[in-house]
Structures are given as structure tokens and as C-alpha cells.
Symmetry: C2
Subunit: 221 residues, 2 copies
DNA sequence: CTCGACTTTTGTGTATACACAAGGAATAAT
DNA sequence: ATTATTCCTTGTGTATACACAAAAGTCGAG
């Protein structure tokens, strides 16, 4: 089934997303090849794919490194994410599928319990599932894929979010509002709430970096 | 500068976009390697990139072929395109930059003259520039890139558009409406008009295929 | 004549080898 | 001592070779 290149691509992806390979890390093909016990060929293919999915940067003749976007760039990406999520929420509200709503409520509760239990990684997973349910609930598979892709791409930068005081509590409240709007079939409200929900993340990200040394992890704008 | 893989990737891209390599065409590495006078290695890299940009499909152990999405899939893609363009138009209206508006008017006129002259390829180019100006005018570089990428990806399917009677005339009128809304700073109007402008393309595409043998170029839904 | 198993061929996946450019270290010149 | 130049090391880009899976063609049996 899965080729060697696929495995390497996946492993590198998770390591980047989980922060083990922070932005700016150089990825040298011979080193990776030796580490995974394979030749450079599949390593190169894996890097090509990661480059395409936007997780690494592949400069010609100058090697590849984990993408290290400027602050402004990250904010732009959060803006687009906000719009994609807003569209998904609107389409969810348009359908207002009872099955979908029950799933949303289940993940919402899962978010609350994991948050109460201070289980950070479990909360991340529940939160991810909540948002993915909205993506899929849009009824547009292509839209869902795009949203999932960008969501993944932003994960390394969203990780710093919850350090912001009270953000988690507010985030949960926003989730509830979105579900309410979707259940009511209120397209405009669902869209607006979800857009704001994500946009705040981008703003908080900027605040966070402004507070704790901006240049530490991303290049200055 | 440009590596061999880059050149091959570009050439294949244009050939796919221009319809020389219609959806479903099998792309075999040895044949392409011989055709371009290179080894299989850079050919594979080029195919990987095209796969990532969504122009070809790369099934493991079963080769690559020009992506041949179902009708439903294409409609989904047009829906997402409509939303992206709507966001761009809204952000354009928010800024209402005079310089941007003059550029838009220039491309609008270019569209009209080329349409009047029946110069199809020139019209395509002018139309493309018009839309790209709106993307860039959003002020969000990442959004603009996403929009441009999807625009390119949809090009093979947009080509069949203008065969639909009167579509061209209506399209020009919609362009004018968008510019007017942007100039007036009317975000809601700009967004709505642009969304409808693109959505219609998706619908017309469905109509077109329903009329002239759906199975000819894309798989059935 | 048709269907099925075996062989052959074709094409992809991976490894190895070579070519060349970029960055750095060492040496020489000012 | 500083700077510039040259050489060397490192790493990427491409080519070739091998391994294996899938499809196509062939042959034989019913």
C-alpha cells in the first residue's frame, strides 16, 4: 500500500505540525535518508509533497527548510482560514442537517470536558474534530479538503494560542454560538460568528508574538 | 534559475490548461522523459508538483493521468472559486483604492474590446487579468495566491463556457457591476455580484455538459 | 470458441552514481 | 590584522540501474 515516500512524508508532516521540527529548520536530504534508512529518492519526493502542501519551502539549489512565514503572512493565512470556515458554517446552516447537529453537539461537549480536565492534547483533537465536522457538513467535499489542508498548515502557529489568558473559555462560548446558529438555520449568524471566531485567533497570534519576542520563531514583517 | 524539472512542470501545465492534454490523458514517465530528452527523475518531480497543484492525479503503482474530476466535483470547485472571488471583491470594496479601480476599469475595457473583436484568446487573457487584479486588490497576498491557483486549476473547464449563448455579454455586464460596487465601497454588493458571477459559470458548465454528452470529457457523477 | 492460467512486457518505486553549484575554511596578499 | 582569493566540503540536481507490481498477450484446456 503506502510507499516509502508516503511514510516519510507523513512522519515529517506530523513532526512539523507537532512542533518537533520548528519553522526555519533545515531539512537536508542525506541526513533524512540516513535517519529513515532509505535512499535520497523517496526523501526528495516527500519533500516535494510537503512543499506543495505549504509546510516546507524548497529553494532551488539552496535546500529545503520548514516554512517560516512572516507574521503578516500568518495573519493573512488566518484571514483566509476565517473566510473558509465562515463559508462552511453558512452552508452548514443552510442544510441544518439534524444528524450533523448532533455530531457537532457531541464534539462541542467533548471540547468542554477535555478543557475542564486540562487535557491539552485531547482538547486539540476534539477541537479539530469539531471544525472538521463543520467542514464536512458544508456538503462541499472540495471545500472541506481545502479547509482541512489550511487548518493543518496553520496548526504549528495555532499551538501558541491557548497560552493567551481566557482564550480557551471564550473559544468554547463561540463554538456554542456557532452550533446554535447552525441549528436555527441562521446562515448570516453562523457565518459571522465563525469568521470572528477564527479571525480572533489571527489577532491573538499577533498579540502573542508582539508580547514575547516576535523574532523568536518567525521572521519580522 | 529554472531547473529541468521546473521547465517540464511548466510546459505540462500549460498543455493541460490549454487543453492539449485533455482530462484523462495518461502521462507515462518514460514517454515524457524521451520527449523532453531527459531522464525520468525530473519528469517524476514535475508530475509530483502537478499532482500537488491538483492538475494531475497520481495513483500509486498505477501511473498518473490528467485529472478528470466528476461533474459534481467541478461544480464544487466552482462554488469554492465563487466564494474566494466574493471575498476578494469584498476586500477590494473595503479599500476602494483609486489606483486599483483605474486598473480594473482598464481591464474591463480591454475585455469589452477583445470581445467585440471576437478575439477569443485575447479576451481570455484580459478576463484573467481582470480577475487577478481583484485578487491582488484584496490586499491579502495569500488569498490572492489561493485564488490564482484555483483559477488556473479550473481553466480547462472554463474554456467550454463561452459556447453557451449570450454568456459573454452577460459576463461583461457582471464585470461592470462589480467595478461599480467596488468603486462605491459597497462591500455587500461587490461580494454578492462576484459570487453570482462565478456561480453562474459552474451552473452553466453543468448545463453545457448535460446538453452535449456528459460522459465525453468527465466521468459521470 | 471461450475461458482461465501462465508468461511476457510495460511502467512505477527505489537505490546508486555522477555532475555541479553554493557556502565555508584556509591561505596568501595588502 | 584584515580582506580577498582559492580550494575543499557539503548538498542539491540529474542520470542510470535494479526490483517489483500490474497489465497485456499467449497458450492450452474444456
Amino acid at each position: 500500500m503506502a510507499s516509502v515516500a508516503d511514510n516519510i512524508s507523513e512522519r515529517l508532516e506530523t513532526e512539523i505540525v507537532e512542533g518537533l521540527l520548528p519553522p526555519g529548520t533545515r531539512l537536508e536530504e542525506p541526513a533524512l535518508a540516513e535517519r529513515f534508512g532509505v535512499s535520497r529518492t523517496p526523501v526528495r519526493e516527500a519533500l516535494q509533497r510537503l512543499s506543495a502542501s505549504g509546510l516546507v519551502e524548497l529553494k532551488p539549489r539552496r535546500g529545503t527548510q520548514v516554512l517560516n512565514p512572516s507574521i503578516g503572512r500568518i495573519v493573512e493565512m488566518f484571514e483566509v482560514m476565517a473566510e473558509l470556515e465562515a463559508v462552511c458554517a453558512r452552508l452548514c446552516a443552510r442544510r441544518a442537517d439534524p444528524d450533523l447537529i448532533s455530531k457537532l453537539k457531541a464534539w462541542l461537549m467533548s471540547c468542554e470536558t477535555t478543557a475542564a480536565a486540562q487535557d491539552v492534547s485531547a482538547y486539540y483533537e476534539a477541537n479539530r474534530q469539531f471544525h472538521h465536522t463543520i467542514y464536512r457538513g458544508s456538503g462541499n467535499g472540495f471545500l472541506a479538503e481545502q479547509a482541512e489542508s489550511l487548518h493543518l498548515r496553520l496548526t504549528p502557529f495555532r499551538r501558541q494560542q491557548l497560552r493567551v489568558p481566557r482564550r480557551l473559555r471564550q473559544s468554547l462560548a463561540e463554538h456554542t454560538q456557532v452550533v446554535t446558529a447552525i441549528e436555527a438555520g441562521d446562515e448570516a449568524a453562523a457565518e459571522a460568528v465563525q469568521r470572528a471566531h477564527i479571525l480572533i485567533q489571527g489577532e491573538r497570534f499577533g498579540d502573542f508574538l508582539a508580547q514575547f519576542g516576535a523574532g523568536a520563531r518567525t521572521t519580522a514583517d
